[in-house]
Structures are given as structure tokens and as C-alpha cells.
Symmetry: C3
Subunit: 210 residues, 3 copies
Amino acid sequence: MLLTILYIIGITAEAMTGAISAGKRKMDWFGVMFVASATAIGGGTARDIILGHYPVAWVKHPEYIIITCIAGVFTTLIAPWVERNQRLFVMLDSVGLVVFSIIGCQIAIDMGLYPIICVIAAIITGVFGGLLRDLICSQKPMVLHKELYAFVALFSGVLYLGLLHYNVHENIATLITLILGFSLRTTAVYFSWHLPVFHFESAMPEKNEK
Amino acid sequence: MLLTILYIIGITAEAMTGAISAGKRKMDWFGVMFVASATAIGGGTARDIILGHYPVAWVKHPEYIIITCIAGVFTTLIAPWVERNQRLFVMLDSVGLVVFSIIGCQIAIDMGLYPIICVIAAIITGVFGGLLRDLICSQKPMVLHKELYAFVALFSGVLYLGLLHYNVHENIATLITLILGFSLRTTAVYFSWHLPVFHFESAMPEKNEK
Amino acid sequence: MLLTILYIIGITAEAMTGAISAGKRKMDWFGVMFVASATAIGGGTARDIILGHYPVAWVKHPEYIIITCIAGVFTTLIAPWVERNQRLFVMLDSVGLVVFSIIGCQIAIDMGLYPIICVIAAIITGVFGGLLRDLICSQKPMVLHKELYAFVALFSGVLYLGLLHYNVHENIATLITLILGFSLRTTAVYFSWHLPVFHFESAMPEKNEK
């Protein structure tokens, strides 16, 4: 129940970040709705498709996609307000990230998959939406080089899985993961933590180019 | 039957637009066939994968992919002719768009999905092919900011669904949707109609960037 | 058995090319692992999803994704060595390409699909990984305009299928396809062979743009 409410907050916040990106690329209303929805529910869709977990979440619950479309168009009206409250959105986005990760992990657990696949499901659910947004809007994928974004999804998945493994009740595990994942993410944003970057400058063409 | 013929005209026209895009990016013949096929049948493939509707259309009907490959390579020979007859191709492309939308909608109806999912299936089928083409060829996705392209798919899906709901016979509904959808699209192209564009210029970095 | 060993060599080599690409785009360790894995097992994943062949290979064999992640991170440590041994990597990459194609073809055969779909499955398995890498790293997709890359996958698929059709034993067919496919690819790289390129320069806007 709590998870559902947080999930809806999460997709709304993600949809708004998607809409802002679409606005920077001068897309029309349809484009805004599309990018908003891809950002918010693209991660869950990718997870369901890769795991063969049909029907995909929003096909069973079309209200999710209605929410993201409305959030997207609504964002076009309040973009300056969104800008002024950026800090709030970083927080909502962090909640979304951790909630998505927990849900992705839980679905893989319910399918009886290997623990490592459950963690990967958490990462895909948390990260793919933002990745899709950046690909569609031709931006360098933020999730692949910024403030532990994907790492938080990994951390949340492993933590949640570990707690369940030690027989912690599902609700407690969810709450602990939420609090620690959220803290990690916001701390990382605050201190601009990031994973080591691999920067390879070379005259060497790619293998395939040669 | 009529729908099948129009479908084949549609994928041929779409494949040719894909081949022209590939030619602008100096791809080899394989690249041309790939982009042509992705443009023409990528929308239906995305729809089938998202809805879990297996086997995917062209896996059951490989002749479709043969048509798009041939159309793609053939386009390399007649590119200047295609250019001179651009208006014809806008029309064929519009036919394809509406036909794809109707087919996508019908498949979702047959799967017993919610009406809004049927409309989304129409949009995905109509629009994803062009979106894929533009992503692969690193162009700004045209379908997300041009002349009601996606809106025509939405319109066709809603209209077709509405007509069936009021017990109009399938063939009649198809015909009406075709005529009105095609008219809307060509009129939009003629008058350069488009949806309101959301243009957001800002010093604000994305949520994830911050 | 031989095929499994060659497959693991193949995904390792592909993962390393992915990691080098990620390094050129200054991604963090997670990004490196992601691009490495997408490059190495993205082709097989795309094939399984398009054919509805669940569970996807690495969901059943998580060790594959562990290998690609380790290979990716390891590459960040030995990037200059990889550069000096570029020729070796072109060879390993070629082995991977042919092995992927054979595996893709075999899976489609086992599913009882049309011969042309088996060949397409070979191409998707061989080529999509590199395509994903180039899309994520915003490079012009190499596989679509370089040295018969995709053509080698096509050739391997057709050859393998043809050999099986004439009742050649599976292991012999695999071996012959490996040798000839590898020879074709390395010869193509050596002489810089490529398919005819379709280069279309024009003032004509795309159909959808008009």
C-alpha cells in the first residue's frame, strides 16, 4: 500500500523530469507525453519484456500511463516552478529510484529467478527509464556517469534481497531499503559522489572500425 | 483483404523513407535493408513485444521482411525519382500510418485489452517505426514534433475503437478511419499544422545531472 | 562444448570492445559494465525477445553477465594493452561474431521457424550487440557500414543452415561455418572489403519532415 503510493509519487516525478528534457528538445505535446511516459514506466517495461513477465505493468494498470501523460503535459505549464523547486524533485526522483528498485527486485523474486538476476531486475527497473529519456533526447546518458544513480539501484536491490534472506518481514525490508537507499542517493547528490570514471582517450579506432 | 494490400503499400513506402535516411548516413546495403525494415515493421514488432503478442508478425509472415529489404535496396537505385515524387510518398506514408494504427488497435482488441491500451497499441504501431529510423540515423525524432504524426495515429485508434463500440461493421469502420485519418494527415501536412510545442530553455540541469 | 568455450571467448572480447567505447565516453564503472554487457549479450537478448524465446539466455545462465561485467571492469585496467593488441581483438571479435550467428541460427531452428527467420536470428544475434553499443555511446553504428560485419553474420547463418539441410552433422557444420565465416571476416578486415555504400545527398527533407 505504502509502496503503491510511493510508486505513484515516483512515476509522477520521473515523468516530470522526462517532460523537462522533452521541452529542451522542443517536442510537441505528444512528444512530451511520450518522453514522460518512457522515463517513468520505461524501466518497468524493459524489465517485464526482458524477464518475459507479461502482461507488462501498465497494460494491466493503464492508470499509470494516464498519470504519466497528465504529469508530462502539466509540467509544460509549471516548468519554471519545477525549476525553482529542483531540490524537491531530486528528492522525489530518489524516492522513485529506490521504490522502482524494490518493485523490480520483488517481481524477479516472485518469478523464482536467481538472486543476481533479482538485483539486475532492480537495476533495470530503476535505471532504464532515465536511460531511455536520454537516448530519445540525444543526451549523454546521465545514469551511466552520475552520482551513483545506478549504484543506488544496485545497493537497494542487494539490501532488500539480503534482508529478505535473513527472514526480515517484507514490509520492514521495504522500509529499511527505502530509508537507506534514499539516504545514500541524497548524500551522493549532496557531496557529488560518483563512481570512478573510466576515461580512455586514444587514437585507436574501435575493433569494428579497423 | 483491402487492409492487407494497403498494409503492403504502407510497409513499402515506410521502407523507402527508411532507405533514404540510411543513404543520408552513408550506410552500406545491409544498413539500408536494416533501417528500411526497422522503419517499416519496427512499429508492429515493438507492439507485439510490449503486448507479449507472439509470434511477432514478420516471424509468422517472413514475406513482409523480404518486401521491406527489397524495397530498401531498390530505393538506392531510384533515389532521385523518389525525391521528385515526394508528394506521392507523403501520401503513401499517410496511408501506411493509418493502416498501421488500425491493425495495431485491432490486435489489442483481439487480445481483450483495455480501450486505452488499444489506442496506445495503435500509436506504437503507427509511430515506433519512424522513431527507430530516426534514433538509428541519429536524427531528432520527427514523429515527436511534426505535423500531428503521432496525433493521427491516436485519432485513428480512437475513431476505429469508437466506431466498433457503436456496432459499426469492422470493414466499414476500417474504411471510415482510413478516409478520415488520411484526410487529417494530408491536411496537416498541407497546412503545416502541428501540436503546441513545449520549448523549455533553462540553465537548470536535469534532476539527475544535479 | 567447443561452442560454449568459443561463446565465452566471444562475449569476453565483445565486452572489452564495449568497455573501450564506454571509456571514450567517460562513463563510470557501472556504465562500463552496462555497455560491456549490452555489447556482449545484447544481441542474444534482442533475439530472444523478438522470437519470444524465454527465459532469455543470461537469465538462465547468470554467469554470462558476471563474465561480461568482470571483463568490462578489467578492461579499464588494461586499456593500453588492449590497444597494443588490437589485431588479437579483431580476431576474437570475429570468432564471437560467427559463434553468435551459429547459436542464433540454431535456436531459431530449434523453435521450428522459417529458414529466412533463422538467418535473421543469426544476424540479430551477431550484430545487435555492437549496434546497441554504438547507440548508447552515440557513435555512428559501425555494424551498418563496415567490412561486411553484418554480411558475415548473414553468410554464417545461410552456410550453417545449408549444411544442416544437406544432412551434414551439427558439429561438422559448426566447424565449417566457424572456419569459413572467420576467414571471410578477417579477409574482409585485411583488405578493407565492404558492401556498396548508398550515399544520398539531397536537399529533400524526409517524408515526415515535409
